[in-house]
């Protein structure tokens, strides 16, 4: 790879590309020698997190890095700003947590050896794809990374090998493939109209007009399909119901968000002033909040509930579009920070919640909520983790969810867009309703004792740490928010 940036081959660039590409190598290695214990995984993964922290520090000191590389006559662009760095850090943390959890999951749950070995290369591919999505600055790299991510995600969902997993995975595959063609058609129109693929060139050359609008509509349709935003969410819940907990955690936390991230980047550059379209997206998000919340409330399996809650929580992110389109600088700044804080808080909390739910299911062997009756006496730690994660999802202080919703609320009031205030309130109430439904079952006093399997301590610990970090992100939100204020907004 030839890196030809202004800073040529600086240490930062080398470290960045190592952190981006090393996971693929580690994944392949772990595929050959599947790890048996958590500690080695943690030790090998920790340097990646530290390297990303260092990169983030460098970004906060000396500003954005960018560069290009040219394989075979193509000119591909990348950049690392505050936002991309924060998302990279989040990704590394969640990947590490998920990899360690997978080891513990394997220790308790009889998993086919081949499926377990197959998990690791897919995890490595997913890590590379997510990293590339955060730093890519042109549509070709984004396309390749998006597809790599989608295919790895489908592969991971298929690992359980049961019939319901295969059917759900097949549906996911078909959805993902068609979504990618919609995206490619949008890219074709943009390329035909402006002759550029890099984001800066597109923003400068794309004339506002019907073609840009249509291209953006096709791109948005493909991305919304992959992000499972309201009317296109049909594939998400069945896929999660049958997937392994560490896979669900990564998928709900990061994979669906990556599509949202790309959509936001493109939207801000190409059609930032399209108020009506932005309101349409906001309305879809509102419906997602309500519908996802209602379905989560009605769900009778635990993982089903958590998956529906993802559909609902993704809706909050979509509220950013109307709050960023044609509003004052103060409103836009608030909404911008709120969105990414909500994304990070939800990623941590949702991963924790999927893992906690996985722990409850693994320990009791019960998938249904009614089967968890009286579980508070036997699995207090798993249940507490579930509760702490739920604090962030509901948006209670001092969690990241609270800070994010508080900022969002301020933005909506400042902009006079009262509809979103109502949506925020309704969403919070619905979240409380479905979370407390779990606790109502769990705290039943008259339920018989379960035969509970003892889980490795690491499983509960990882979930608890993630849930607590979602709380801590709310308390220490100033540092990421300062980074976000400085850079990232195109």
């Amino acid at each position: 790879m030839s890196v030809s940036s202004a800073a040529s081959l600086s240490t930062e660039v080398v470290v960045l590309w190592l952190t981006l590409l090393v996971p693929a190598l580690l994944g392949a290695l772990a595929g050959c020698f599947p790890p048996r214990r958590m500690l080695p995984v943690l030790l090998i993964g920790a340097p990646l997190v530290l390297a990303t922290l260092w990169l983030l520090h460098r970004v906060s000191v000396s500003g954005e890095f960018q560069g290009t590389w040219s394989p075979g006559g193509l000119l591909l662009h990348w950049r690392l700003n505050g936002l991309a760095g924060l998302l990279l850090l989040l990704t590394q943390l969640l990947l590490l947590a998920s990899a360690s959890y997978a080891v513990g999951h394997r220790q308790t749950f009889a998993v086919a050896e081949r499926a377990y070995a197959g998990f690791w290369p897919l995890l490595g591919g997913l890590a590379v794809a997510l990293g590339l999505i955060w730093v890519a600055d042109d549509l070709l790299t984004l396309y390749a990374a998006l597809e790599l991510m989608g295919l790895c995600a489908v592969g991971m969902m298929l690992l359980p090998g049961k019939q319901e997993a295969l059917v759900a995975g097949m549906r996911y595959l078909l959805y993902a493939l068609v979504g990618s063609l919609a995206w490619l058609l949008g890219v074709a129109l943009l390329l035909g109209a402006s002759g550029r693929l890099d984001m800066a060139g597109l923003a400068a050359n794309a004339a506002p007009g019907p073609v840009t609008g249509i291209a953006m509509a096709l791109l948005a349709a493909g991305l919304l399909l992959k992000a499972a935003v309201f009317p296109l969410h049909g594939w998400l819940v069945p896929v999660h119901v049958s997937a392994w907990a560490p896979v669900s955690a990564l998928h709900g936390a990061l994979v669906v968000k990556a599509s949202f991230f790309i959509l936001m980047q493109l939207w801000q550059r190409l059609v930032a002033d399209a108020v009506a379209a932005a309101w349409l997206l906001g309305l879809l998000g509102s419906l997602a909040v309500l519908w996802g919340g209602l379905q989560a409330w009605r769900a009778d399996a635990l993982k089903q509930m958590v998956a529906w809650s993802t559909v609902g929580q993704l809706g909050y992110l979509m509220l950013a579009f109307p709050l960023l389109a044609g509003t004052s600088a103060a409103v836009a700044s608030l909404a911008w920070q709120a969105t990414w804080l909500q994304l990070a808080g939800h990623a941590l909390a949702k991963a924790a919640m999927f893992m906690a739910a996985g722990n409850l299911v693994l320990a009791t062997g019960e998938r249904h909520l009614s089967g968890l009756a009286g579980i508070s006496r036997q699995l207090p730690l798993s249940l507490m983790t579930f509760g702490i994660a739920a604090v962030t999802l509901m948006g209670l202080p001092p969690s990241a969810g609270f800070t994010a919703k508080w900022l969002l609320l301020q933005a909506a009031i400042l902009a006079g867009q009262w509809l979103w205030v109502a949506v925020l309130v309704a969403g919070t109430l619905l979240t409380a309703a479905y979370v407390f439904r779990v606790f109502r079952f769990a705290f039943a006093e008259d339920a018989p004792h379960h035969d509970v399997r003892v889980l490795p301590a690491g499983l509960d610990l990882i979930a608890l740490l993630l849930a607590l970090s979602a709380l801590a992100l709310g308390l220490g939100a100033e540092w990421p928010l300062a980074l976000l204020r400085e850079g990232g907004r195109p």
């Binding site: 097949m170 493939l177 063609l181 058609l185 074709a188 390329l191 109209a193 049909g234």
Partner: protein, 223 residues
Amino acid sequence: MSLLGELVAAGLLVILATACLFDRHLFRACLAFLAFALLMALAWWRLEAPWLALAEIVLGALLTGMALFHALGRLGEGCRLPPRDHQARPRHQSPVRWLAALVWLALAGLAVWELSGNSPLVASGEVSRRPLLASGLAIMALGLWAFAHHLHLLRRLLAFNVLGSGVFLLLAGLAGPVVEVQGLILVGLVVALVGSVLGAALLGRLYALDGRVTLGADRDAAP
């Protein structure tokens, strides 16, 4: 290459796509797809993109074809799927899909119309790109119809591949055979291949598990 030759090639592509998507006999449909992919390679060759033509032959025709024939049970061991598709989609399931497919097609058609009217890029290209655009749109329409209409998973995979080829043709027709287009199409070909292999393997597994060749009782929003 004369305009007439371009027209004939584009017409042949559309005819083969039609044969591939309308034939209920799965083996014949797969053969038609193979011929379609080879003709696509010829189209890339004539656009002076020999590497793309090679990739299309290897990835699009050879490997995808092998995956499809393997799923059919004509290649290697494996369950042999029934040779014909007997599924018919109930009428009441269709409207939303039809609407989505029509909106997609209308948007694409409108954008191509706008672009071929006043874009400097298309204007500078020869007239011979017009047949490419027209055949791309037609093939995309066929692929969309088939993807929305068929239930049999193998036929949906074929429809996806044809739809993808239609998008590639549009891409090449809109922006010319520049290096960015070749890169995008190459990635697209790899993705289509991996998707087809994965889909065909899944179909084989599902058929072996409980004899199904469709996604089955879709409760609500199926793709």
